[in-house]
C-alpha cells in the first residue's frame, strides 16, 4: 500500500522534500568533516599571498586608502571573496558525468526537479566549508592586518543574504555549464573560463574598485561582480544604498539565468536517449 502525506504536491511538501535532500548532504559532509580542511588550507595560502601583495602595494603607493579601501579592508575583502569562491556549490563535474554516462535518466523518473535536486544537495555541503574558510581566513587576515576595523555585526544577516543570492546566481551559471555536456564532450574548459572571468571581472583577484575605469565600468554591468565582489565589498564597507542596488541586480540576473537554465534543461532532456541497462 502506498501512503501519501496530506499536503502532497503543495509548496510545503516540496520544501520538505528539498530540505531532506540538503539535510542528507549536511550529514554526509559532517561524516567527512576533515575534507573541509582543504578549502581552509587553500584560503590560508591565498590570504597570505594577497596580504603580502597589498601590503607592498599600499606601502609603495605611500597611501592608507586606495579607491575607498584601506589595507585592512582590502585584506578582509579577500577573506569574504574566498569564502564565496571556496564554499559555493559546484555541480559542473557531477552534471557533466551524469549526462555523459546516462545516469541522468535515473533521476528523470524521480519525484524531484533535477536542477533543484543538485542545488539543495550542494547546499548541504556549503555550511561546513563556510566555517572552515571563515576560520582559517579570519585567522590569517587577523595576523596580517588585525581585526576588521569596519566590521558591523548588525548588518551581517544582510551580508549573508546577499551572499546566499550570490550562491544562487553562481549555481544557475554553473548548472548551465554542466548541462552543456548535452552538446559537448567535455565542459570543463567552459567552467575554467567562467571561473577565471570571475577572478578578474568578478573581483576575486582584485577588487573591482582597483580596476582601470574602462574595465571597471564593464565589470559593473556584468553579473559576475554580483557573485564575489558585491557581497565582499558590503562585508568590509557596508552601504545601504549599495545593498539595495545589489539585491535588485542579483534578483534580476537570477531571473534571467534561472529562465535560461530552465529552457536549457528542457531542451537538453529532449535529447536524452535511454537504452535501458
Amino acid at each position: 500500500m502506498t501512503t501519501f502525506a496530506a499536503d502532497a504536491g503543495t509548496w510545503r511538501a516540496k520544501a520538505r522534500k528539498y530540505r531532506a535532500i540538503a539535510r542528507a548532504n549536511v550529514q554526509n559532509s559532517l561524516a567527512y568533516a576533515w575534507d573541509a580542511l582543504t578549502p581552509g588550507i587553500f584560503v590560508t595560502i591565498f590570504i597570505f599571498i594577497f596580504a603580502q601583495i597589498w601590503k607592498v602595494t599600499f606601502a609603495s603607493q605611500n597611501t592608507n586608502v586606495i579607491n575607498g579601501l584601506t589595507l585592512n579592508m582590502t585584506i578582509w575583502y579577500f577573506v569574504w571573496a574566498e569564502l564565496v569562491q571556496l564554499s559555493k556549490i559546484d555541480p559542473v563535474t557531477t552534471i557533466q558525468n551524469e549526462v555523459k554516462d546516462g545516469s541522468l535518466a535515473y533521476t528523470l523518473g524521480r519525484p524531484y526537479n533535477y536542477v533543484l535536486y543538485h542545488f539543495f544537495h550542494g547546499l548541504g555541503g556549503v555550511g561546513i566549508r563556510l566555517v572552515s574558510v571563515l576560520a582559517f581566513g579570519s585567522f590569517v587576515a587577523g595576523t596580517q592586518a588585525g581585526l576588521l576595523a569596519s566590521f558591523r555585526l548588525e548588518v551581517m544577516p544582510l551580508v549573508l543574504f546577499v551572499t546566499v543570492l550570490a550562491f544562487v546566481l553562481d549555481y544557475c551559471i554553473m548548472a548551465m555549464i554542466g548541462l552543456l555536456a548535452f552538446f559537448f564532450e567535455d565542459v570543463m574548459a567552459f567552467r575554467f573560463i567562467y571561473s577565471k572571468i570571475t577572478f578578474v571581472l568578478g573581483g576575486l583577484l582584485i577588487p573591482v574598485d582597483f580596476l582601470p575605469d574602462t574595465v571597471q565600468s564593464i565589470a559593473r554591468v556584468l553579473p559576475f561582480n554580483l557573485v564575489v565582489y558585491a557581497p565582499s565589498k558590503l562585508f568590509v564597507a557596508w552601504d545601504w544604498e549599495q545593498f539595495g542596488f545589489v539585491v535588485i541586480m542579483q534578483f534580476f540576473w537570477i531571473g534571467v539565468m534561472a529562465g535560461l537554465l530552465t529552457l536549457f534543461y528542457r531542451y537538453g532532456v529532449k535529447r536524452v536517449t535511454i537504452n535501458g541497462g
Binding site: F48, E185, A189, F192, K196, F199, P212
Partner: protein
Amino acid sequence: MLREIKFVLQLIKLNIASAMEYRASFLMQAVGMFINNGIYFVFWILFFDKFGELRGYSIDQIFLLFAIITLGFGMALTFAGNANRIAEFVAQGRLDYYLTLPRPVLPHLLFSWMNPFTFGDLSFGVISYFFTGRFDPVSIVLTFVSAVLAAVIFVSVFGIFGSLAFYIGNAKEITFFLGNAMISFSLYPIGLFQGAVRLILYTLIPAAFVGAVPVEIVETGNLKLLGYLAIAAAIGATLMTVVFQTGLRRYESGSAINVNM
C-alpha cells in the same frame, strides 16, 4: 637505459595519438587552459598598469615568469601526465597493472598518460615568451633549458608528494594541496616573501626553483646559477626515485581489476 628511453618515447607517441582521437575535446581543453592562464596575465597587466612596480618585478619579469612556469608545467604534465596522480593510483591499488609488466614501474607510470589541458599551458608559455621581447639566441636557449629543468622539478615534486601515499594512506588531498601551493607561490614575485616562508619556497615547497630562479638565470645570463638549478633538478629526480621505490615495498594491492586502454 637506451631501451627505457625508447620505451618512454613510444609511450609519449601513443599518448599523443590517443589525445588526437578526441580532437574536439582535446582542443577545447587546451583552449580552456590557455584562457585560464590568460586571465592571470590580464590581472597582472591591470595591476602593473595601476600600481607600477612590485618589489623589483615589473610586467616584463611577469611575462618571463609566466613563460617559464607554463612551459615547465606544460612539459611536465604533457609528457609525464600521471606525475600528479600517483597518490590516486596507490590509494586505489591501481599500481598492479604496472607491476605485472616487465618495465620499470616509475617511468612507466609517469609517462603512460598525457593531460590534454597542458597543451594550453605549453602554447601559453610560447605566447608569453613573445611578450618578453627577448629574441636573442642566448635568452631563448636559457629560457628553454630553464623550463626543461623546471619541468623535471615539477615532476619530481609531484612524484615525491604522491609517493607519500605509500606511507600515510590516502595522500590525494595533501598532494593536491602541496602541488597547488607550489604553483600558486611560484606565480608571484619572490620578493613578496621573506623569512621562514621564503625558506619553505626553496626547500619543502620548492616554488622558487620553477619560477624565481629561472627568471634570474635568463635575466642575468648566470650560467653558475643554471648549474645549480640542474643540480636541484637532479637531486629532485633522485629523491623521487628513492621515495617511490622505497614506498613501493610497502604497497598492498587493492585486488582491483583495471583495464588500461
